[in-house]
Each structure stands twice: as structure tokens, then as C-alpha cells.
Symmetry: C3
Subunit: 475 residues, 3 copies
């Protein structure tokens, strides 16, 4: 007992936000480690190696257009935009944390994708012949996917953690992700093209658990900085729209060539369209005068893309996609109105961007929709070959039935939840240590802690509170 | 006479901008209707259905890369960006209407694309075997195209209508579009790859007619809010540039595979480049000291893309594209300088974004250019097969001559004009009814009517007028 | 001596910034010249001409998907975004020069790409049969590449030149580029897929030399306008991120079909990721309290993409890419901290955007990395066919050895340097003439000189200095 108390006391020491040693150290050491590990392990795969021209001849491939690059690169670029501009700008809504939103997002993703190539490579693309990981365009998409889960987690702790903490969070997040993904996709043989379970459920509960562990009882000292200003809301809409528009590419990026990619894009397109209408409807209903709330438009409109992730490549049917989007728009918006304040007040989980409403709930719904759709699959709807193809009933899984597959999907969802919550609690413990340079409770959500701000801002503060803040500093 | 007067009186009742019942009701009811109609009518086409693998075998298709997805999906994504970021941000230039610009654009497009899939499906892709509409990536592009015409119309009434009115406008706009498109493309057999006639001419005159019907004699009470501020102009440039850059994809998205798409992209690229120079030249000439006007840069630079829409897939020749762009840059910029004020003063048409200069005039020019180019087509330039292929002289049209085709193109332009003006007048009448929650004349162009604004804005108003406005409200 | 002095005096006459005659004249005359030259010289190539259908049959091409359009168009669109949004928004960081950054970028690129199609066409794609230049999607990419070098040069003189000077700079820049590119790629047979030498080294030294020739001794009268404001830094991040994300497309856009494009994208992706970490590390190290500087995040994070340009299509190996990115992040950030102030103080080169750190040094490094990688190439790593294919050891170069190729690469780098510095000095001389309408030293970096600014800005100036400036004007 005394031990826990002394741990708590140790954690609650006065904060020192100087990261001049720790941040460069972490960046340099980890980047050098990446170079060494890449040197040992990572090589081009047969489609990106200069031997492709010989591989083509020996495998009777008629044209360069059959290179996987042409099937997947456009989707990869769309996913890439979602990771860097989408997630980055979505979080710029805070009035004084736009630099941190875009900049730390950039840092996390830049590191995370390298570590993901290694971790995912060890599990999925290790060549038994030479012990090397062989990478190609699909590896890059998967690395971006993995990073997405860490950026989702960042949404829960936005403005409350230091860049060093974010790097640690990413290191463990990517590791956990790779293990969890291997269990769900390879061992359990669940399908999850758009990552409702693997990416969103895991990432969101990982972030929420960390936020719970890092709970700040005196955060109301920074609450005047939690809001947005007019132009920061417009910046956030850039993030929203690029996520929304490119989500069909996200959900279809690693689906099967041909009908799989095609169908996943259509389903996501439809689901997202329905979400826009129900989010706006609930947002308007929730205000006395029917006014819309930008928070809902920026976030809840995306819930349909999350929830259709698992089932996007299945024969969900166009109306099925609309139904999923319809429900998620409602649930997500209601989450912002009722659940986020509830969680903060009673569960002591502060969720800056509301990832519980945008990723956690829709992710779980997506896992369930996927399980149901898989269990309901039939040869009549898919065709004999189509069924085997869509669910990959091949090799050791060739006798699998759709109903069984439904069970496996549900099991996958549980694994994602366990890894998210369990991993988050452990990593949250580590991040409580008072060595990471995070800000005191009265300086959260403020770029001034980690960024050189333009000088002239002092002459024209965007808000009165900010002005006071600067004046106090000057005194 | 008395009847008309009492209609006018009824329409001029004091305005109530509370949309708390009407907006959610419209969103929910229409979204549920969409789900039901999709359930009855819409299925995947053979390229997005799980039976693709069997279809491939039976049709002797050698590779998945032959799936239309790989021909059109990159273009689809570019078009998607134009619809949501392009049109959305282009309209953020007003100092206090950025939320409405981006947000209502989002709402219109989210609803419109669903309704467009149905309407266009009934006319174009109804499978006679089972009475179902079969959708694929081309349907998604066409739905986005259809939505574009409604977003163009939104440009004319930006800031003066309620979201409920916009939904009604979209419902009818999409319906009219689908009929008009069917008449022009299928019955008249005109070609219009980039939609100069079908999308731009129709959409612009539809919007202008509605704006004429909704004329507000006392709009000068809101005129202090019609301008931009420095950063809102930069936001609008995001819209401009994404429209400008992706216009080659827009005009080539549904062109013929192979040379058709290739040529349409090149022609549009060139036309737009020429427009930039002449827009800037006229803009500079029009000011006493040669200063440039952001309104021209944001809008007139796009006119070349509109005007080359119909002819983009024809053998317009690179210099032909430059000439079209050259002329449209001049005409469009002169339109902003002379015609927009004229229309407002004498024709009682207030056109917030100047769509008459960006879409209506260039659209008509595009139709004419298309007719001339088609009429001048020859086997020498196109090759025998190329001519039949480009103009689709097949089936019942196989004996068509280029000169005839030119006539059909001109007929198509007339149909687009009639539908735009006629439809706009009728829909405008409906929208005059005092039940839609639009703002009074002194509160137009103000996000405060339909949006919860960030609180701290009151402490740091971007303009003095706005400050007064807020103070008056508080009293 | 007296002659030079009188030239100097002539150049130092009071400035007249009215461009009402010169800017429209230049735009119109040059655009008309383009139309005439396009009419004489430019036609569609066989893949974008309506004869494609016959060409396909006669060349035994099985499918439309073999059209180069489908290999390169997605990359083209990404490059297009980099040119217009990437470069344009990267330069919006100045507090009062966002219109000029985005708008003049638009003007330069719109003109430059037309002139580049002609210049590059004469050197590379002149059809000997009919004396015409045949263009297709690859020509459009190359034209965008050429424009990139002029936009890089613009970065050095941002805020200090008039739009007419920019047009002149672009005219000569494109011309020099085409000659230099022809010498490096065709005569010397160096490879440079991503343009480290051809685009970045040339463009940067061209811009720096011009800036040196246009040195303004009294520029400190405008120094209060050189900084950023909070939101202008966020706008600049839009540019940074779109450049960063799409750089893999830039470096792979004109690589060989198949493994060439695939490998170039992977190498660039990795190099850029490593740069992010080291840029942030050095940025944090350089400040007493470890705070990050937005200038470094906006610029230095891109250096890895520049430096991997030449070698991206070679077998640089994933760890090789990381090493390149690692070093360039460090060097580029140190450049911003130490070299830029040094150059301004001692070399009299004022470099507004720091292109020396982002393009010049990384470009030279890229050329050296390319030479080493080429010299070290072996049949073991590339395979016999792969080696010939990657380095294009065909035709008259079929007996070339990798070590020789390394020498040719180094020679190419020297040519790029000479053209950049030599061309820049000559063009800089021309631009010193007092006829181009550039601003006096106390009005640089100010949109008010060439743009109509929104009126209400006077009521709510973003900075105190700006307010004074406006008041002085009013007096």
C-alpha cells in the first residue's frame, strides 16, 4: 500500500516540460536502431526488386501492369493522406494546439511506420529462405494502418502529453498492434479489411485506457483552452473531409484484387453518406434552437466508415451499408452529447477528441456487423468460388463454414478489446512516471509548452484568456 | 392578381430560423426512404459482385486489372475531392459563413449522391432481367457529377437559404438532372464527358433561377457580411486549387477507356493553364493600380475547365484547348467585373459566388465548342474506327455523320438550358413558402443563425460590424 | 567602371509597383505566343490520339489498360498537387504574403507548364516524321517537374519580386532547365528519376543566384513582416504535408514501369520518415528549452525526399534510404539554424524560404548518393537484365559499366550546378533593371502591393506593425 502511495507521490512531482535532452535522444536512438534493424532484416519483395523482370518471365506474367503497385498504389496514397492530413488536421480544432496536433501527429506517424514495417514484417512477411522481411506496396499500406491505431489513441490524450510520451506510446502501440493483428488475422482467421476491430477498436481502447491512467484531477485549470476558435474549426474540417473522402480507399486498400476492392469502396462510400445525414439530424435535435455543432460534423460524420470496415469487402449489400451508416451517425453523435461528459465525470476518462464516439463504439459495431454478415454468408449470394475467395476458405481453412467464420469474427473482436484495454493500462502506468516532460494541469492544450510561437501573437492574442496567460508569463 | 398578392404576403411573413424540427425530420425521413429504395432496387454490378470470379472465367477476362475499378477509381477519388473539398472550400471566402459553406456542402452532397444513384440508375442501369439497378465505380462517379450540379446551384444562394431549403433544392435538382441527362445523352445522343452542358449549364441556370425567385430586396442590410477576411480568402484558395488540379480527372472520369480518358485529361490540363494567365491579366487591368483581386483568382481561373468539358474527349487539339481556356479566362473575369453587378441591379438576381461567370457562361461556351468540334470531326483526324469510337456511332446511331452530331450537341445544350431555367423557377416558387426556416434579410451570410459558434469569438470579433451585431443581439 | 556605376544608379531609381500595363501585357503576349507555337508544334501522341484503337491492333496490345495513362496518371495527379498546393501553401507562412505565395505560385506554374511542354518537347519528343511534338501523360509530368524548379527558385525571392519578374524568371528558368535536362539525361546519360540534380540542385542555385543579384541592402526595413502568425504557420503545414505525402509519387512518376516505380516509391517513403525524426531532434536540441521551431518542421522534414531523388529507382536498399533521410534531416535543420543567417550576413544572399537548406544541399547530396549507388551497382544485386533495365544500358550505351555510370552521374551534378549558378546570375542581372515593378525595400513581404486586400482588415489588423503601416499610408 505504501509502495503504491510512494509511486503516486513520485508521479505527482512538479512537472518539468523541458524535453531538450529526452526528445532528441529518443528520436536519434530509435532512428539509429531502425537503420540497423532495417539493414539486418528488410529487403525489397519480388515486385519491387530489380529482379522483377526475370520474375515476370519465369512466372509468365504478361505485363508490368500486373505488378501489385498498380493495383494498390492509388489506394496507398489516399490512406497516406488520411494518416498525415486527415488525422493531423482533424485534431487542429483546439484554439491553441494546432501546432501540436499536426506536428506531433507527423512525428508519431514518421516513427510508427518504420517500426510497423519491422513488427508486421516479422509476423507476416518473413521469407523462410533467407530470414528477411520482403516489403512492397502492401507493406506500406499495412504500416500506415498500424500507425492509424496509434493516432486514434493520440486523440484521447491530445494536449495532455509530451512528445516523448507519444513516442513511447507509439513504440508499445505498434508492438501490441502487430501481435494482436497476427492473432486476429492469422491465428483466428478473422477477416478485417478496413480494420474496425484491428485498428479502430484496439486503437480507441488503447488510447482511452492510457487517458484513464493519466487522469488529471485538476484539468479544469486548462479548460478555457479546450474550446475552438472560428478558424481552427475550419482547419479541422480539412481533416474531416480528407478522412471522409478517402475512407473508401482505406477500407478497400488491402482487399482482394478485383471485386473485393471494388465492393469495399462502394460499401464505404454509401455508409459514410448515410452517416452525414443522421449526424446532422441528431446534432440539430440536441440544441434548443436547432443549431448545428461543429464537433458533431467534424467527427460523427466519419463513424460510418469505421463501422463498415470489417464488412466492407463482404456482400453487405448497398442498403446494408446505408443501415450501418444510419445507426452509427446517431450513436456517435449521441455519444458526444451524453457519453463523453459521463465518462469524464464518472469514469475519470478525459477524451479530448471523443475517440470513444468516433472509433471505439463504431469499431465494436463494425466487428459485430462483420460477424453477422460473415455468419449469414451463403453460396447463393456469393457463388461457390466467390465465397471461398471472399473469406479465404483455402488451405487449412478450406472446410470452414460461414457460421463458424462468424464465430471467429466475434473472437477477433474480443482479442482487439483485450489488447486495447490491457495494453493501454500497462502503457499508461509507464507513462505516469514523472520523467517524460508532460505539462502541468494548468498548461495543457497549449502549444506554448513545446513550440516556439510566432512573437507577434502577444500583440494580438486570439482570446482574452490567452492574453492573460501571456501577461502572467511576462510578469 | 389578388391571389398572387396574398401568396407574396404569405411568403413575406416574419422569418423563424429554428430548424430543430424540420431539419432532423427531413434528414431522417429521406434517409429512411433511401434505405428502403436501396433495399428494393440497388445491387452490385458484375464487377463489384462476389460472382466476378465466375464472370471473369466465363467472359475470358485474363486479369483482375481489367476490372473497371482500376480504370476509374483514381479519377473517382479526384472527383470526390472536388465535390467535398473543392466546392466546400471554394465557398468559405465569406468572413462569417465558412461553417455553412463547408457544412451544408457536406450535407447536400451526402444526401444528393444517394438520391442520384437511384435516379440515374432508373434511367441508365436498370437491369431488365431482374428490375434492379446495378452499381459500380462508374455509378459513383456519375452520382458525384449529379451532386456537382446542385452544389453549383448552391453557389448562387450561398448564405441566403436554410439547410432545409437546400435539401429540397437538392431533391428536385437531382431529379431534374437525371431526366435532363437521360434526354441529352441517351435520347438526343449528345456527348458530354465533362458535363459542360449537363452539369454546369444546367446547375448554374437552376441556381440562378432559384436565386431570382428568392430575390431579397433588403439584402443590403447584410451587405457588410458579404466580404472576405484575409484568412477566409486563403481557405477559399484550397477549394480553388483542388478544383483546378483535379479538373482533368473530372473531365476524363467517364470517358472511354484508353485514348479517350488520356486525351480528355490533356485537353483540360492545357485549357486550365491558359485560363490562369488571362484571368490574372484581366484582373490586373481592371484595377487602377494593377492590383489583383482574389475573387477573380479564386473563380475565373477555373472557367477553362468548365468550357472544355464537352469537347475534352474529342480531338480538340492542344492549341484548341489553349484557345478555349484563353477566351474563358477573359470572359469569366469580365463577368465578375461587369455582369454580376448588372444582374443584381437590373435583373434582380443576386449571385453570391458568381456562378454565372464560372459555370453558366463557360458552360454554354463549352456546349458550343463541343458542337463545333463534333461537327468538324473527320475520318482523317480520328481514323475510321476512332471516329465511331469517340462519338459512339454504334447500334442505332451507326450511320450518323459528324455534322449531324454537331446538331445534336446544340440540341443538348438547349435542353440543359430549359431544364435549368424552368426547373429553377418552379423550385424557386416552392422555396419561397415561409416554412423552410430561412434567415431574415438582415441576418444573411451569418453562421450564427444555424451554427453554435465558438464562445470566445465574442471577445475577439474579426470585424467591427460583427462586434456590433453581437452586441445588438445581447441587448 | 563608370558604366557599371551608372547601371547601378539606373537600377536604384525609385520603384514604381504599378504593374497594370506590364503584367497584363506579359500574360497576353506570352499566352498568344503559346497558342501559336502549340498550333505549329504540338499534337497528341499515339496513346492519346483517336488512332489509339488502330495502334492497339497493329501493335498487338491486348487491353486499354496497357495505355501509359493507367501507369502514370495517379502519379501525375499527386505531382500536380505538390506543384500547386504543396509549393503554394508551403510559402504561405509569412504573416502578410499568403495571397502572393499561393497566387503567384499559381501564375508561374500555369505559364511554366505550357512553355515546358514546348521546350522539353523540342529536345525530347520531336517526331522526326512530321516535325511535331507528341504529348501524353509523361509529358505532363515532365512539364510539372520543370515548373517545380522555377517554384523552388521562387522560394528564395519570395516577397521581394514583382509578378512580372517572376514571369521573366520562369521563362528563362524553363528554357535553361530544358537544355540542362537534355545535357544531363540524354547527352551524359545520367539517370535522375526524382530530379535531385536536374530539378532541385538546378532550381535552388538558380534561385539563390538571382537572390544574390537582387540583394537589397535595406531589407531590414521590412523585417517585421518576415515572421509568421499562428494561423499562417498552420496553412504552411498544408503545403508541407502534401509535399511530404506525395513525394513518393514524385520520385516514381517517370521511373520504369513495374519494379522501377514500385522501388522508387518505397525508397522515398522510407527516407522521408527518417527525416522527420532527425529534423525534430535537431530542432529541439537547438533551443534552450527544447521547444520545436515550426520553420524546421515545415521544411527540413522534406529534405529526405529531395536527397533520395536520383537514387530512388536504384537498389538503394531500405536501410540506405533511411540513412539518406537521417543525414538530410540533420543537415537541413542545421542549415536553417546556422547557414541561412550566415549567407545573409556574409554572402549577401537573402533566402526567404531557406531553399538552400531544403533543396540545394539535399539536391547535391542526392546527386552524390546517386553517383555512389550507381557506381556500386552489380549484376549480383540487380540481375543481368535488371541492371541493363534500371540504368538503361541499351543502344549506344549497352557496354557501359556501373563505375562509368557513377562518373556520368557526377558529371550530371556539375552540369546542374553550372546551369543553376550561371543562369541565375545572368537572369538576375536582367531582373535588376528598374522596369519590372518590384517593391521598395520597406514594402517587401506585403500583399498590399499587388493585391486588393479585404477592406475590413484595417479595422482588425493582425499585427501592430501592420496597423501602423496602414495608418501611415492613410496619412
Amino acid at each position: 500500500m505504501g509502495c503504491i502511495q510512494s509511486f503516486r507521490q513520485c508521479c505527482d512531482r512538479p512537472k518539468n516540460t523541458n524535453v531538450r535532452i529526452s526528445l532528441p535522444a529518443v528520436c536519434f536512438v530509435w532512428q539509429i536502431a531502425m537503420i540497423i534493424l532495417f539493414g539486418i532484416f528488410i529487403r525489397y519483395n519480388e515486385e519491387s526488386d530489380a529482379h522483377w523482370i526475370e520474375h515476370k518471365t519465369s512466372n509468365n506474367i504478361s505485363s508490368n501492369i500486373e505488378n501489385d503497385f498498380y493495383f494498390r498504389y492509388p489506394s496507398f496514397q489516399d490512406v497516406h493522406v488520411m494518416i498525415f492530413v486527415g488525422f493531423g488536421f482533424l485534431m487542429t480544432f483546439l484554439k491553441r494546439y494546432s501546432f501540436g496536433a499536426v506536428g506531433f501527429n507527423f512525428l508519431i506517424a514518421g516513427f510508427g511506420l518504420q517500426w510497423a514495417l519491422l513488427m508486421q514484417g516479422w509476423f507476416h512477411s518473413l521469407d523462410p529462405m533467407d530470414g528477411k522481411i520482403k516489403i512492397g506496396v502492401e507493406s506500406m499500406i499495412n504500416a500506415d494502418f498500424c500507425v492509424a491505431s496509434c493516432l486514434i489513441a493520440y486523440g484521447a490524450v491530445l494536449g495532455k502529453v509530451s512528445p516523448v510520451q507519444l513516442m513511447v506510446m507509439t513504440l508499445f502501440g505498434v508492438t501490441l498492434y502487430a501481435v494482436e493483428e497476427y492473432i486476429i488475422l492469422s491465428l483466428i482467421h478473422a477477416r478485417d479489411a478496413g480494420g474496425s476491430m484491428v485498428i479502430h477498436t484496439f486503437g480507441a481502447y488503447y488510447g482511452l485506457s492510457i487517458s484513464w491512467m493519466l487522469y488529471r484531477p485538476n484539468l479544469d485549470q486548462s479548460k478555457h483552452r479546450i474550446g475552438s476558435v472560428y478558424h481552427s474549426d475550419v482547419f479541422a474540417m480539412i481533416g474531416t473531409l480528407f478522412l471522409w473522402m478517402f475512407w473508401p480507399s482505406f477500407n478497400s486498400a488491402i482487399s482482394d484484387h478485383g471485386d473485393g476492392q471494388h465492393r469495399a469502396a462502394i460499401n464505404t462510400y454509401l455508409s459514410l453518406a448515410a452517416t452525414v445525414l443522421t449526424s446532422i439530424a441528431i446534432s440539430s435535435l440536441s440544441q434548443k434552437t436547432g443549431k448545428l455543432d461543429m464537433v458533431h460534423i467534424q467527427n460523427a460524420t466519419l463513424a460510418g466508415g469505421v463501422a463498415v470496415g470489417t464488412a466492407a469487402e463482404f456482400m453487405l449489400m448497398p442498403y446494408g451499408s446505408l443501415i450501418v451508416g444510419f445507426c452509427c451517425g446517431i450513436i456517435s453523435t449521441l455519444g458526444y452529447i451524453y457519453i463523453t461528459p459521463f465518462m469524464e465525470k464518472y469514469l475519470k476518462i478525459h477524451d479530448t477528441c471523443g475517440i470513444h464516439n468516433l472509433h471505439a463504439m463504431p469499431g465494436v459495431i463494425g466487428g459485430i456487423v462483420g460477424a453477422i454478415t460473415a455468419a449469414a454468408a451463403s453460396k447463393g449470394v456469393y457463388g461457390t468460388e466467390g465465397l471461398a475467395n471472399t473469406f479465404d476458405f483455402m488451405g487449412k481453412w478450406k472446410d470452414m463454414m460461414p457460421t463458424q467464420q462468424g464465430g471467429h469474427q466475434a473472437a477477433g473482436l474480443c482479442v482487439a478489446l483485450c489488447f486495447g484495454i490491457g495494453g493501454g493500462i500497462i502503457v499508461g502506468c509507464i507513462l505516469r512516471l514523472p520523467i517524460w516532460g508532460d505539462a502541468p494541469d494548468n498548461s495543457c492544450f497549449d502549444d506554448d509548452i513545446y513550440w516556439e510561437l510566432p512573437e507577434d501573437e502577444e500583440n494580438n492574442p486570439p482570446t482574452v484568456e490567452y492574453n492573460n496567460h501571456m501577461r502572467n508569463k511576462a510578469v
